[in-house]
């Protein structure tokens, strides 16, 4: 339920807000113990009544298109480029999480969310033995992004 909601909001965000065409989506619930990360990654911690980690990872080309859209055609100063990319990566996960939250168990009431954290120098994130990982991969006309949820098995089923 949680991954379906995040996937739906990601698709709506990409298509309706960013004007990006989606080519394919896939959900992997295969018992993997790690999330493979793309070129840029941003994550949000969910706490309170539900404890989860939501990780969104982007291929560089797709993040560049998202940056262009956020900048409304304004040119990016090369000195600010890294900070802007980190900021957009974080803002996208923040927005998708916020849109999906009302569809979480108990309509997301009693749930707290951390500000986004950006990770750029890691190739994967490993789970703790008792948790579970489900990943949705969204392939677009400008490259792919993945949305992963890491959390207790009973919440993610």
């Amino acid at each position: 339920m949680i991954i379906e909601s995040l996937l739906l909001q990601t698709k709506l965000f990409l298509q309706d807000d960013m004007g990006i065409e989606i080519v394919e989506t896939k959900v992997a619930d295969d018992g993997t113990d790690r999330v493979s990360l793309g070129d840029y990654t941003s994550m949000i911690g969910v706490g309170g009544k539900i404890n989860l980690m939501v990780v969104i990872s982007y291929q560089n080309e797709l993040l560049n298109v998202l940056v262009e859209s956020f900048m409304d055609g304004e040119e990016v100063d090369p000195e600010e480029e890294q900070e802007i990319k980190d900021s957009v990566a974080g803002e996208v996960v923040n927005t998708i999480m916020g849109l999906a939250l009302p569809t979480f168990p108990n309509r997301g009431k009693g749930v707290t969310i951390t500000p986004p954290i950006t990770i750029n120098d890691a190739s994967n994130i490993a789970k703790h033995k008792s948790s579970k990982i489900i990943t949705a991969t969204i392939t677009t006309e400008h490259g792919a992004m993945s949305v992963s949820v890491i959390g207790p098995e009973d919440i993610l089923k």
Binding site: D72, E91, N94, G98
Partner: protein
């Protein structure tokens, strides 16, 4: 023209919101990345309007609203949040915020919110249509 303070921990959102306000002819006095900076800037700049993110590091937006409202009962603060959490919005309004906008922020949402709080600055859609017609001819 409104004098505006923008509070958000996201650089891209600060840039985007500032650009929209400037497009509407308002003046952005400054920006802040957390609640503490927002209080300091409010006290020194006395803006007509503040846009305030809710979830920020160090001090969140709801705490900042409470602090600003203690000394400035007439402060006009709009909460900006990506969280569809009714309880966060309710807490913000109880703290003294005059309205809220859900992210993603668009020109239409911002224009509507400004118009609700400051009717004298409402964007007249009819005028826009006339402008577009004039552009065509």
């Amino acid at each position: 023209m409104l004098k505006v303070l923008i509070v958000d921990d996201s650089m891209i959102i600060r840039k985007k919101v500032a650009k929209l306000f400037e497009k509407f002819g308002h003046e952005v006095l400054g920006d802040a990345q957390n609640g503490q900076e927002a209080i300091e800037q409010y006290n020194s700049k006395k803006p007509d309007l503040v846009t305030m993110d809710i979830t920020m590091p160090d001090m969140d937006g709801i705490t900042a609203v409470k602090e600003i409202m203690k000394d400035h009962k007439d402060a006009k603060i709009i909460m900006v949040t990506s969280h569809g959490q009714e309880d966060m919005v309710i807490k913000s309004i109880q703290a003294g915020a005059v309205g809220y906008m859900l992210k993603p922020i668009t020109e239409e949402k911002l224009a509507q919110t400004i118009g609700e709080i400051f009717p004298e600055y409402a964007v007249d859609e009819q005028d826009d249509e006339i402008d577009i017609l004039n552009d065509d001819f």
